[in-house]
């Protein structure tokens, strides 16, 4: 039986964060729902450990999430999923460092951003694979949608790979809403407003659905306005 810990960092804890070690065979789930301040999370995983991080944020203020994750033992696994919404003059910065220091580890990152009005978002994510971290699998995806011409999102994926037998991929997109989808929904009678709301909701829902606990998922949905 693996040992499972759940940590929830809620809004209101300005400057919260912390450092956790996950021992072999253990599993840590960390959920973060903050809307302001600077939050820094450090995780280190021993061999065979598992960690899952899901964050959501919607803000008109300043918010910074910082994740430093170290995979120190063979076969450790990390999933990191997040969605942020920057509205008004809101500024969101998400920084991740996924350090594969041991062989055979697996990491998956999916971060989605939405910026409206004069909102600004930055995703900068480093995937580092040490020379002896063979058989690493590391995936990173950053997808972003701008709702207004004055909104801005920058995405800066970085890969530093020093091992040769690895599977790594990363992808980054910044775009507008998908007009084909909007047209399809309107053709079925939905108002343009409903169609846009549904599509944007769907974009966020895919991340929010990573939260398996019903009550907690509803809290996530409230935070991003689903």
């Amino acid at each position: 039986m693996s040992d499972k810990r759940t940590i929830i960092l809620r809004e209101g804890c300005a400057g919260c964060g912390g450092e956790w070690q996950v021992a072999g065979g253990q599993s840590l789930e960390l959920y973060q729902l903050c809307s302001e301040g600077t939050h820094s999370v450090r995780l280190s995983l021993e061999a065979g450990a598992h960690a899952k991080v899901v964050f959501a944020a919607a803000t008109e203020g300043e918010l910074s999430y910082d994740y430093q994750i170290e995979l120190c033992g063979e076969g450790a696994e990390v999933e990191l999923y997040g969605v942020f919404v920057a509205r008004g003059e809101g500024r969101v910065r998400v920084h991740t460092e996924m350090r594969h220091n041991a062989p055979g580890c697996h990491s998956d990152q999916q971060v989605r951003g939405i910026a409206g009005e004069r909102g600004y978002g930055l995703f900068d994510g480093l995937v580092y694979v040490a020379p002896d971290a063979q058989k690493t699998e590391a995936y990173q995806q950053s997808r972003n949608v701008l709702l207004a011409p004055t909104a801005r999102i920058q995405t800066q994926p970085q890969l530093e790979i020093y091992a040769d037998d690895v599977k790594c991929s990363h992808g980054a997109t910044v775009g507008q809403m998908n007009e084909e989808q909007i047209y399809y929904m309107r053709q079925r009678g939905l108002s343009e407003e409903d169609a846009r709301r549904l599509q944007l909701g769907g974009f966020m829902q895919e991340i929010v659905d990573k939260v398996t606990d019903d009550a907690l998922r509803e809290e996530f949905e409230r935070v991003v306005g689903l």
Binding site: Y184, Q187, G189, G202
Partner: protein
């Protein structure tokens, strides 16, 4: 029901529809055939109100109203349905949720009471059965991960849910195996009535074996260059378009 007069439409300054005349009455089934790139999908898109295309001349009357002045959703709510040649995937949006909103809008336009959650579920199951679509797909995102055949069945399922007056089905038969074709065609036939009409865009006579059209039209280079009865489709299947096209002077 639908009267199209001298319809011209362009995309990016390039004229694609070059004077279409077309009329559909309630109870009728029309088939539109024609070589690739002749403007069939464009015609359907313009009728649906796709904003990518600019109507540069002509008139379209739908149930006595000026169709070209109506928004995409107004047309849909008034019973104009387009079955897409390439149905769009909408990640994160469940079929059930999508249909709930679509049916509510259509019923409002028809002056009908909204359905309760229970009625909606039952209605959805009933209509899914019409096209033998697995009801489990209702919990999945719209068209996401659906097979080619499931996507096409899903279009006819949505048509059944919305009870349209005028259905434009753009190559709903393409990519279907013979069983799926029969199921889809049977579905369309079940939905036929004196009060509605269907326009089938197709490349294949075999669809018209199942759904027998009253008229067959050939669209070529943005114009309907020939119209006939159901036997025209048979002739086209055997002889292709050459005999028509070589006669046709631009």
């Amino acid at each position: 029901m639908l009267k199209v007069k001298n319809l011209h439409a362009s995309v990016d300054g390039k004229e694609i529809l070059r004077g279409i005349d077309f009329e559909v009455k309630a109870g009728e089934v029309h088939a539109i055939m024609g070589p690739n790139g002749s403007g069939k999908s464009t015609f359907a898109s313009v009728l649906a109100g796709n904003e990518k295309f600019e109507v540069t001349a002509g008139e379209v009357e739908y149930d006595g109203k000026n169709l070209l002045e109506m928004s995409i959703e107004e047309r849909a709510r008034e019973g104009l349905f387009l079955g897409f040649q390439y149905p769009v995937e909408i990640p994160g949006v469940s079929m059930a949720n999508f249909m709930k909103l679509a049916v509510a809008e259509r019923r409002k336009a028809q002056g009908l009471e909204p359905l309760t959650a229970g009625q909606m579920l039952k209605y959805m199951r009933e209509k899914a059965a019409v096209v033998e679509l697995d009801a489990k797909l209702m919990n999945r995102a719209v068209n996401e991960g659906f097979s080619g055949g499931e996507k096409k069945k899903n279009e006819i399922f949505q048509m059944a849910m919305l009870e349209p007056r005028l259905s434009l089905l753009d190559e709903t038969d393409s990519g279907l195996d013979i069983d799926a074709l029969r199921i889809v065609a049977t579905g369309v036939n079940k939905l036929r009535s004196e009060n509605n009409a269907t326009v089938l865009i197709t490349h294949y006579q075999r669809l018209l074996d199942y759904i027998v059209p009253d008229f067959v039209h050939v669209l070529y280079k943005g114009r309907i260059i020939y119209s006939g009865g159901k036997e025209l489709a048979l002739k086209l299947e055997k002889e292709g378009y050459d005999w028509l096209i070589s006669d046709y002077k631009e």
